[in-house]
Symmetry: none
């Protein structure tokens, strides 16, 4: 069981290590967790080592290694450090304030569920074949929302919603090879709205 200070220390190390590929000095860690004493930092590190979360190479400068356990152990709500923005042709730009993504915040909620997408109808909206979309269950949607629609109570489809002034409902695919189809409103039942999307490359 780690104390909050030890957790803070571990977290600080992890973040730096992922960015740079090597560890802090004790003084840097001390500054990072806002204390003055290297001795105190060393005590925390020893404790983390005895919990098998890090390995200390004795007397080596920056001689701290993260053990694989360290990444499993910490967050009960999965979080990923958010290191910054990346754009073509520029160094990675740090983001102030928000330093991690809370996956639970990102997606979890009672009325959400996931669907796996088959087909390329929303390709140009960045939703590819095999992606997972997170749907919020609701019966209404705004113009421009990507929705799960049930047509005639049978066919389900993922499309962008557009209502015409005359009441007709357009279901717009994001794929130039597919056609937009217009329906009478009573034929289209909204089952949910896309609120998130995930893809795994593994």
């Amino acid at each position: 069981m780690l104390t909050p200070s030890e957790k803070k220390t571990l977290k600080f190390i992890q973040q730096y290590f992922m960015e740079k590929g090597y560890a802090h000095t004790l003084r840097e860690i001390a500054q990072g967790i806002k204390i003055n004493s290297r001795g105190v930092v060393h005590r925390y590190l020893k404790s983390l080592e005895s919990s098998n979360l890090i390995t200390i190479l004795p007397n080596r400068k920056r001689g701290i290694h993260l053990n694989p356990e360290a990444n499993e152990n910490i967050p009960l709500v999965p979080t990923i450090p958010l290191l910054g923005r990346i754009a073509a042709g520029q160094p990675i730009e740090a983001i102030e304030g928000r330093d991690e993504i809370n996956l639970a915040d990102f997606i979890m909620n009672a009325d959400r569920f996931a669907l796996q997408v088959t087909g390329d109808s929303m390709m140009e909206a960045g939703i590819l074949d095999g992606d997972t979309v997170i749907i919020k269950h609701q019966n209404t949607a705004d113009n421009g929302d990507i929705i799960v629609a049930l047509i005639d109570g049978i066919e389900a489809t993922l499309k962008r919603l557009k209502r015409l002034p005359d009441g007709m409902v357009l279901l717009v695919p994001e794929n130039k090879f597919m056609e937009t189809i217009a329906y009478e409103p009573e034929r289209v039942q909204i089952q949910g709205v896309v609120v998130g999307q995930l893809r795994s490359y593994q």
Copy 2:
């Protein structure tokens, strides 16, 4: 059987524990359930312990552990029900076997971090401006991987990797308006490989 106060206490502990990964102090619990006495909280904890719902490490600060029994109705890892596949023009098809997505499985692992994407250079690969990509920190990559590359030690970019037989390294954007650029291998340093991608529509 728990008294209402004990239930309240347990619920409060569970919530905090899942978020932070460690327990409250007695004072925090007291504030959380709106009483003033740490002694009373301690009595409740003792009672919860004798019901086998928590374990108290004696004299440890924040030394409260949730027993598995306490978590039966609370998922430790956020999951979303995976209802099925959706394709244009067909009813939602149920998926056999796996019925929920485990977000931790999906993304978390050692040496991962997130970057927010700026720009449209990977648009046609379904990675849009504003998306978050999950990067696995590594110095090598296979042909076809989408990588974070550091060019000349300065510029960072997200591109698809292609190595030519003559040793040159191509960084291929997935955007027909942008050009593939070839570099000498020593100019390109691989910082990580994209292993996941997230988008929020909220």
